[in-house]
């Protein structure tokens, strides 16, 4: 079942891949191809959802901008399309707001004294829309699954097809990963959180690989997202850690000079560890997803760079680049799963550390 899904996914990616270069081509109408601009621009968050550029016209989905004006203190809600249109027609700003190109095109406000400040910005950006799409996909999938169980007698029949696949995935994560890492005794309260994290990351990663709407936003390759997830894991580890765990941190079984006088070096290291564990989670997920996107976009850029040299090199390298992109996309499907798995696994392992068993403590 899963193999078939993967194969269809790969085929879909192959078909959709042709769109990505088209988009990239128009980003470089000015002449030379600015690879850094293309790659970072495609990975960055945006106030509209760019779909394609056709005949020099940008076709994109305008998204709502929600900003709090620093001058008046009022919240402004308007479509990003209106603002782009106004600025495109020569206006310096729209209601005092403008896209600051020096700050990644974020909305800044011009103050009366000539300075510009970053206002409170709760805009529904591309990444936010992508996150909500993922949320609705997950809710649809798992509530359908849960409803099946409510409607059927599990003692009489087991699910088939899609629900069976979802059940298999959920139980694999639940039994092998969560129960195995935290331990039979304590895993139950953490299972829903870890399952949510796993499926959120997994689906976000997969949708991020699709080059067009409703996917394609680089969400898990954005530090804000991974920061939030790592923060959740840090809270889950430390808020419910038992006495044993805190004793291990502040009063471990080491000679006194290591933990109290002259310098409490072990507690210092352990306290630092509270921060570094989730920090590693944050950076790992961010860097892996970012790198995958960057490599695929770079291969796409190769096509346009070489076509500018001449048609022969261009066509030759297009084939090579296409094959490499295809390979990278397949690899990224694997990475999408592996990174979700690793994030959940390490979260579970760290939560397991916060609940040391008495037996294992005595063995030490």
């Amino acid at each position: 079942m899963k193999q078939i899904t993967l194969r269809t996914l790969c085929l879909a990616l192959l078909a959709l891949l042709t769109f990505a270069p088209m988009q990239a081509a128009h980003a470089s109408e000015g002449g030379g191809v600015d690879v850094e601009e293309i790659v970072l621009g495609h990975m960055a968050d945006a106030y509209d959802w760019h779909i394609t550029t056709w005949g020099g016209k940008h076709i994109s989905l305008p998204l709502p901008v929600i900003v709090r004006s620093e001058r008046t203190g009022e919240w402004n809600i308007f479509s990003s399309g209106e603002m782009t249109e106004a600025i495109h027609h020569g206006a310096a700003d729209y209601k005092g707001f403008y896209f600051n190109e020096e700050r990644n095109g974020k909305i800044y406000e011009r103050m009366p004294d000539g300075t510009s400040v970053r206002p409170w910005d709760l805009s529904i950006t591309k990444s936010v829309v992508q996150i909500w799409i993922v949320v609705f996909v997950l809710l649809a999938v798992f509530l359908t699954c849960a409803r099946w169980y409510k409607k059927h007698d599990v003692r009489r029949e087991s699910p088939r097809g899609f629900i069976c696949m979802i059940e298999m995935l959920v139980m694999t994560i639940n039994d092998d990963l969560i129960k195995g890492s935290i331990g039979e005794k304590h895993y139950r309260p953490y299972a829903p959180y870890l399952l949510t994290v796993f499926f959120f990351i997994f689906v976000t990663n997969l949708l991020g690989l699709l080059p067009v709407f409703p996917g394609g936003a680089n969400v898990t390759g954005n530090i804000n997202i991974t920061f939030f997830l790592a923060l959740c894991t840090m809270l889950a580890i430390n808020l419910f850690g038992n006495k044993e765990y805190w004793k291990e941190i502040f009063w471990p079984d080491v000679p006194i000079f290591l933990k109290a006088y002259p310098l409490p070096i072990m507690p210092l290291i352990e306290v630092f560890g509270i921060i570094t564990k989730p920090f590693a989670l944050m950076v790992r997920l961010f860097a892996n997803m970012m790198a995958g996107h960057a490599i695929i976009l770079s291969f796409a850029s190769i096509i346009f760079i070489t076509w500018q040299v001449n048609a022969y090199i261009g066509s030759g390298l297009t084939v090579l680049s296409f094959v490499m992109m295809l390979f990278m996309n397949c690899l990224e499907v694997l990475v999408a799963f592996v990174q979700a798995y690793v994030f959940t696994l390490l979260s579970a392992v760290f939560i397991g550390f916060a609940h040391p068993e008495h037996e294992s403590h005595h063995k030490d």
Binding site: V128, V135, I223
Partner: protein, 169 residues
Amino acid sequence: MESLNLPGILTPDFGLFFWMMIAFITLFVILAKFAFPTITKMVESRSNFINESLQNAHEANSKLASIRTEGENILREAREKQADILKEAMATRDSIVREAQVKAQAEGAKLLEEAKLQIEAEKQKALREIRSQVAALSVQIAEKVILQQLKDEAEQQKFIERILDETTK
């Protein structure tokens, strides 16, 4: 942070963080309340049920096996008994036949004996009749002879004396 111009994906962005928090917490609350516990609980109850069923099936199997051996034992005993009964019946039949034969022989012999006795009696009776007939005949014959011979006196005397002699002797 302001002086560093980091790429967009590395720049802290409160808006994105805020919406991520809202979306993720919504997702977590709904899934944790309605989806995952239901799924895992149901799957666990099903696996428990399957385990129980397996155990029950195992017990039932062993029970069935013992019942089968018991049945086989009963069958074997029944067969043995049947064979015994048949053997006995055959022996009884043989003995009955033999007795009947003996009885029949004895009966036959008796009948034969009776027939012989009867024949003997009939024979005696016949003989007696013949004898009496012969006696009557001889008396008649003798009468006639005597009637002829005793025409003269002397001869009558002589004859009477002779008969007297014969009978008195």
